[in-house]
């Protein structure tokens, strides 16, 4: 019962802050509402006993990526941003798009099945601790995708460095 209430709370807040993020006139407020959203996402993870995922959600998304967003926001001239008109001019288009998206979401609801399935149901995770379970799975069955993801990130990092350096040389 308590769990369900908590889930309800998190879900409502996630939807609410998501709306605020889109509707807020001040981009800083948008980013902040996204932060609150991430918190409640972490809350959802915790309800699923995925505490490692919850912590990473906060550290990486709220702690690092959103800070970067804020960084970028602050660097562009914010006061002018606040003054200009919103970027979607016609409400008609946005209504159509969001209605379509909503319909898609509703359409896939029946395919959800309650309760975790497969090798790691909640009881097993509780026994193993989530961190360990995830580590085991990630470094045994999913080692190849994991390495590929790492490689892609490395390429992105090197690409970023190269781009930054080129720009600097051009400036000089």
């Amino acid at each position: 019962m308590v769990n369900q209430l908590l889930f309800l709370y998190c879900a409502v807040v996630i939807i609410g802050t998501g709306l605020v993020a889109v509707r807020a006139k001040n981009p800083v407020y948008s980013v902040l509402s996204v932060m609150v959203l991430f918190f409640h996402m972490a809350g959802l993870y915790l309800l699923l006993n995925a505490e490692f995922l919850a912590a990473i959600q906060i550290i990486v998304y709220a702690g690092a990526i959103l800070v970067l967003y804020l960084f970028v926001l602050f660097l562009v001239s914010l006061r002018q941003e606040v003054k200009i008109e919103r970027f979607i001019a016609s409400h008609g288009v946005s209504t159509v798009v969001s209605v379509c998206l909503g319909a898609c979401l509703l359409a896939i609801i029946p395919s959800f099945k309650l309760g975790a399935k497969g090798q790691y149901p909640v009881e097993r995770i509780e026994q193993l601790t989530h961190t360990k379970a995830m580590g085991l799975e990630l470094y045994s069955n999913f080692i190849l995708p994991f390495e590929i993801a790492g490689l892609i990130l490395l390429i992105a990092v090197i690409g970023g460095l190269v781009l930054a350096r080129n720009e600097k040389e051009v400036n000089e």
Binding site: V28, L32, I59, G63, V67, L68, L70, T129, H130
Partner: protein
């Protein structure tokens, strides 16, 4: 009933920690004072012992000035974010065996999460004040937090690998009782990286760039006054204590000491934390401040490679032992 006990525990912990904060400012002023051939506070009470209380009363009753052009809700909220995140991270710190509010599995990660959130307070304070100095202070803080979170996390990976857990109590118990089995010795590189990153994470000298007095007036707290200013101060000191506790738990063997103290198990833990805080203060009295780009260089070019090396060495060590 259970909830009541927890609330009582929280209240006791809060009172003790806040008193510690008050007296940490006192000791900082006294220690720096004596290092600088002066006395420090002397007037309120015997040798100024009541000074923190006088300061508290003063800042509580001072006018809370809000700049007319500030973004009011964020301006009011920013110090609260700082303080709340710092206080929350106290919940997972084990002061002695069983002396912990929430013994969760991911204690270490939880503290990282909280400390990275505390930077929001700083950043928002810098932005919402709508002053150029606070804004630059906020920007600096952002960059500093992003770059030093990484070595701070990586430096503790070695400890996680040795103890095989993220739970703080397990980390302490796996270090064993004896002096020589503290992780300080096998993890000396990690400790070095951690110590420097810890200074940067708590915005202390020589990494106090976000509030660099002589460059940015007071950095992100330039526009704050009265109680809100004090909240930032408290957050900074609690941050120091949390970081010192993490250092104690992960490298110095937590509450383990050369002999047992009856009735008061956290004795050794608190002593080690005091030692850390004394180091903080000593460094503040001694070192000049880094420049912004030098700080970045140190973080990215020295600390992160060192931390990675430490992880590599620890991994090799583990493979060899098994």
């Amino acid at each position: 009933m259970q909830i009541l006990t927890i609330i009582l525990q929280i209240a006791i912990l809060l009172v003790i920690v806040l008193l510690h904060v008050a007296y940490a400012t006192y000791f900082e002023r006294k220690i720096i004072g004596h290092m600088q051939v002066r006395m420090g506070p002397m007037l309120v009470g015997y040798h100024g012992l009541l000074q923190p209380i006088a300061d508290g009363i003063k800042s509580f009753f001072k006018e809370d000035v809000i700049p007319a052009q500030a973004d009011k809700p964020l301006f009011l909220f920013a110090p609260v974010i700082c303080l709340v995140t710092m206080l929350t991270s106290l919940a997972v710190i084990p002061f002695a065996k069983g002396w912990v509010l929430a013994d969760i599995n991911i204690g270490l990660l939880f503290i990282f999460a909280m400390s990275s959130l505390a930077s929001y307070g700083v950043i928002l304070a810098g932005w919402a004040s709508n002053s150029k100095y606070t804004f630059l202070g906020g920007l600096r803080s952002m960059a500093q937090v992003i770059s030093y979170e990484i070595p701070l996390g990586l430096s503790l990976v070695g400890v996680m690998m040795l103890s095989g857990s993220l739970n703080l109590t397990t980390i302490v118990t796996s270090q064993g009782n004896s002096f020589s089995s503290m992780y300080l010795f096998p993890q000396i590189i990690g400790f070095f990286v951690f110590f420097i990153a810890m200074l940067a994470e708590t915005n202390r000298v020589p990494f106090d760039l976000p509030e660099a007095e002589t460059e940015l007036v007071s950095g992100y707290i330039t526009e704050y006054s009265g109680m809100r200013y004090a909240l930032f101060f408290m957050a900074e000191y609690i941050g120091m204590m949390v970081m010192a506790s993490i250092g104690t738990i992960c490298f110095l063997g937590g509450w383990n000491g050369p002999f047992e103290i009856p009735f008061f198990p956290p004795f050794w833990f608190i002593l080690k934390v005091y030692g850390f805080i004394f180091f903080f203060i000593w460094i503040r009295a001694t070192l000049p401040r880094y420049r912004y780009d030098q700080l970045m260089e140190l973080g990215w070019k020295l600390l992160i490679p060192l931390a990675l090396l430490n992880i590599l060495l620890t991994g090799l060590f583990k493979i060899l032992v098994h």
